[in-house]
């Protein structure tokens, strides 16, 4: 069974540009999460989808971040326009329906904004 995949693995962009990160969850997982780790700090929750609906987006830092999950399958996270402080590693995780089901994490996308 394929795990959670993320694309790209690395992205280097200039301040002001737009970047779109993609996450493909494990097939059949209704729950999809985005997290971010800024260098040297803790991994922080960004938002949670249940199928195609945003269940909780309390961690989204500002309106430059837009997450979508069309059709309840893969998800994208767009940053527009990117700022220096957006640099970090963006993790995606997915889980099945039950509350205590394990979250399976992808390898992350390392975003560098110059």
């Amino acid at each position: 069974e394929a795990g959670v995949t993320q694309f790209p693995s690395h992205s280097v962009i200039e301040k002001g540009q737009t970047v779109t990160l993609r996450c493909d969850p494990i097939s059949g997982h209704d729950n999809l999460y985005w997290y971010r780790r800024v260098m040297g700090k803790e991994i922080k929750f960004l938002l949670h989808f249940v199928k195609e609906s945003k269940q909780d987006e309390s961690g989204m830092p500002n309106n430059r971040f837009l997450a979508e999950r069309t059709g309840g399958t893969y998800s994208t996270l767009k940053v527009q326009p990117a700022e220096l402080e957006d640099s970090g590693v963006y993790f995606c995780a997915s889980s099945q329906a039950a509350l205590m089901d394990e979250q399976f994490f992808g390898p992350g996308t390392r975003l560098t904004v110059l």
Binding site: Y33, E42, F45, D56, F91
Partner: protein, 112 residues
């Protein structure tokens, strides 16, 4: 609100020695506790979790952790480490909400 403190950012230890990675949490509600490990260029992998019941939890790769409610701690231990245990370890908590709250991570380096 809940938070997690991992007291050591770096832990060097010699091969076959025991190790303890410390984790303390704060929360106004009951929580569930987790330890994740991240090997280089990989995603986070669940090591073990405490949901309820026995306070001593055994996980993969010979790791175990003990939930101590009075001290609000969930320290991770292994009696004898291997070179392959070199990785970054994250303690995390969650309440009824689904999202995880992580500590800042502990880099475990096992020396030959």
């Amino acid at each position: 609100a809940q938070s997690v403190t991992q007291l050591d950012s770096q832990v060097p230890v010699f091969e076959e020695a025991p190790v303890e990675l410390r984790c303390n949490y704060s929360s106004s509600v009951s929580v569930y506790l987790f330890w994740y490990v991240q090997y280089p260029n990989q995603g986070l992998q669940l090591l073990l979790k405490y949901l309820s019941g026995s306070t001593l939890v055994k996980g993969i790769n010979g790791f175990e952790a003990e939930f101590n409610k009075s001290q609000t701690s969930f320290h991770l231990r292994k009696p004898s480490v291997h070179i392959s245990d070199t990785a970054e370890y994250f303690c995390a908590v969650r309440s009824s909400a689904r999202q995880l709250t992580f500590g800042s991570g502990t880099q475990l380096t096992v020396l030959p």
